[in-house]
């Protein structure tokens, strides 16, 4: 293992305030694969690209810059586990670099607040950093291969797009997350419209729940048709969408059709690394993981 690198851990809103079990798994797993996390004290909402950027772009850019400035001051690159926050920081940095007058504008809003900012910091996604370490290197840590586990991989949108401002080799039909799932011993199963949106973003979940949940339902039906045991995602908002929508759909239908456990990638990896399910927050899921864990760990 190469020497550990330290990042400023940007939590965002949904992860610490709705799915702290996902946060817990990240805090447990990352240091074990050589990624040290520094607290980003005083960070705010990224702010959310679908809502706040849609309402007032200058406010979005100013607050995103403030969060980036906190990491820059700490001397680290920022790391996030949410695709929405990732999108915000990637797009904000691109805007500041392409248009120096926007950086001046942001600094005028910071005046007198003691927030130095040069926009030289970088923002990374947790899965990007894990991918940089590489599947082969990570695989060395796998002591409990998750044999027989069929997984629906969900990448999400802002992790991958706009492709001209993302680090991935390909612009579509990505495979990096599938490869990172494969090394855990689980099998990534193809399913219809795998790269489709979860339906949560853009302020749609916030303002039109029926449409939002119906998009999630389409994905969930495709996953059920493919016969998967679990969903693996890398975004706290997609995670929320799949967890909460399944409960909502079951309530509406009056039956238990939707019961696919939803794993954040670090929860899957942690399990394969031999970690205890409770350490990974797997006992705190909306859709119970228990029967799947019973099958996997006995």
């Amino acid at each position: 293992m190469t020497e550990a690198k330290t990042y400023s851990f940007f939590l965002g809103c949904v992860m610490p305030n709705r799915f702290p079990n996902v946060e817990k798994s990240i805090r447990e797993v990352l240091p074990k694969i050589g990624i040290e996390l520094d607290e980003l004290e005083g960070a705010s909402c990224c702010p959310a690209p679908g809502v706040i950027r849609s309402f007032d772009e200058p406010t979005w850019l100013a607050l995103a810059s403030r969060n980036l400035a906190l990491a820059e001051k700490a001397g680290n690159d920022l790391i996030t586990g949410c695709n929405g926050c990732y999108g915000t920081f990637k797009e904000a940095l691109a805007e500041l670099k392409e248009h120096p007058d926007r950086l001046k504008e942001v600094k005028s809003y910071f005046h007198g607040l003691g927030i130095p900012f040069k926009a030289e910091v970088d923002a990374k996604h947790i899965i990007e950093v894990i991918h940089e370490i590489g599947p082969e290197e990570i695989k060395k840590q796998v002591v409990r291969p998750l044999k027989g586990l069929k997984v629906a991989v969900h990448y999400g949108c802002h992790l991958l797009k706009p492709s001209n401002n993302r680090p991935w080799e390909k612009t579509q039909r990505h495979t990096f997350l599938d490869e990172l799932v494969d090394i855990t011993g689980a099998e990534s199963i193809p399913y219809r419209d795998k790269f489709m949106c979860c339906g949560a973003g853009g302020g749609v979940r916030g303002s039109n729940v029926p449409v939002s949940v119906d998009i999630a339902k389409e994905k969930l039906d495709n996953m059920i048709e493919a016969g998967v045991d679990a969903i693996v995602n890398v975004c706290s908002f997609c995670h929320l969408q799949f967890e909460v929508s399944q409960a909502q759909l079951n309530k509406e239908l009056g039956e238990q059709r939707y019961k696919i456990p939803v794993f954040y990638y670090t929860q899957l990896l942690g399990l394969a690394m031999g970690m205890d399910p409770e350490t990974l927050g797997l006992h705190k899921h909306v859709v119970s993981t228990q029967s799947l864990l019973d099958r996997l760990l006995t």
């Binding site: 939590l11 809103c13 949904v14 610490p16 305030n17 709705r18 702290p20 079990n21 946060e23 817990k24 980003l40 004290e41 005083g42 960070a43 705010s44 909402c45 702010p47 959310a48 690209p49 679908g50 809502v51 706040i52 950027r53 849609s54 309402f55 007032d56 772009e57 200058p58 406010t59 100013a62 607050l63 403030r66 005028s108 809003y109 910071f110 607040l113 949108c157 802002h158 797009k161 706009p162 492709s163 579509q172 489709m196 949106c197 339906g199 949560a200 973003g201 853009g202 302020g203 749609v204 916030g206 303002s207 039109n208 449409v211 939002s212 119906d214 998009i215 389409e218 927050g281 705190k284």
Partner: protein, 183 residues
């Protein structure tokens, strides 16, 4: 004519010739090259289940039908998945254009009540989704900081965030207008 077909006429006063120019200036610079091929609509996950048609929105924007575009709740059905932007054969930043039009809509007072609520949460707490009691309890059980080390744990940091939102005018923008809000 005595048939029952209602012909829709676009009146001159509905057309704002500067509308598309403002969208171009804000960054969706290739929108005029739209050929109405419909690729955007065909890949849209919201369009699959609603009457929202991205192509129609682009056409109306090009025609300058400002009031119709900005007042329509359809403008808020885009999940910003960026698939249309990736697939557009003219490389139009479709999603950016939608975000630009949403900014214009909010300035004109068109904001969905739930979105105003989210904005108020950001103004008050620095988070669009603030911590609640149940999750504070869960954090404690999980043995991670009971209050996350964000603005939730640092009042001075929250003051900075609030001050920035005052300076950008976000607080005023979100305030409900006298006599209720437009939708």
């Amino acid at each position: 004519m005595n048939d029952s077909i209602s012909r829709e006429t676009i009146e001159n006063e509905s057309i704002d010739p500067d509308f598309v120019e403002r969208i171009v200036e804000a960054g969706a610079d290739r929108i005029r090259t739209c050929i109405q091929c419909g690729t955007c609509s065909s890949v849209c996950p919201s369009g699959r289940r609603t009457a929202f048609r991205t192509r129609e929105l682009m056409r109306k924007a090009l025609l300058g039908l400002k009031e119709e575009v900005l007042s329509s709740p359809d403008l808020w059905l885009c999940a910003t998945c960026l698939t249309c932007l990736e697939r557009c054969p003219r490389q139009i930043k479709v999603t950016d254009a939608i975000v630009i039009m949403r900014n214009m809509a909010v300035k004109e007072g068109f904001m969905l009540p739930q979105h105003r609520k989210v904005s108020k949460k950001l103004l008050q707490t620095g988070h669009a989704v603030p911590l609640d009691e149940a999750n504070q309890e869960m954090r404690k059980e999980l043995e991670i900081p009971e209050i996350p080390p964000t603005v939730h744990a640092h009042e001075d940091a929250l003051d900075d965030v609030k001050e920035i939102m005052k300076r950008t005018g976000f607080d005023k923008l979100i305030q409900e207008e006298e006599g209720g809000e437009k939708e």
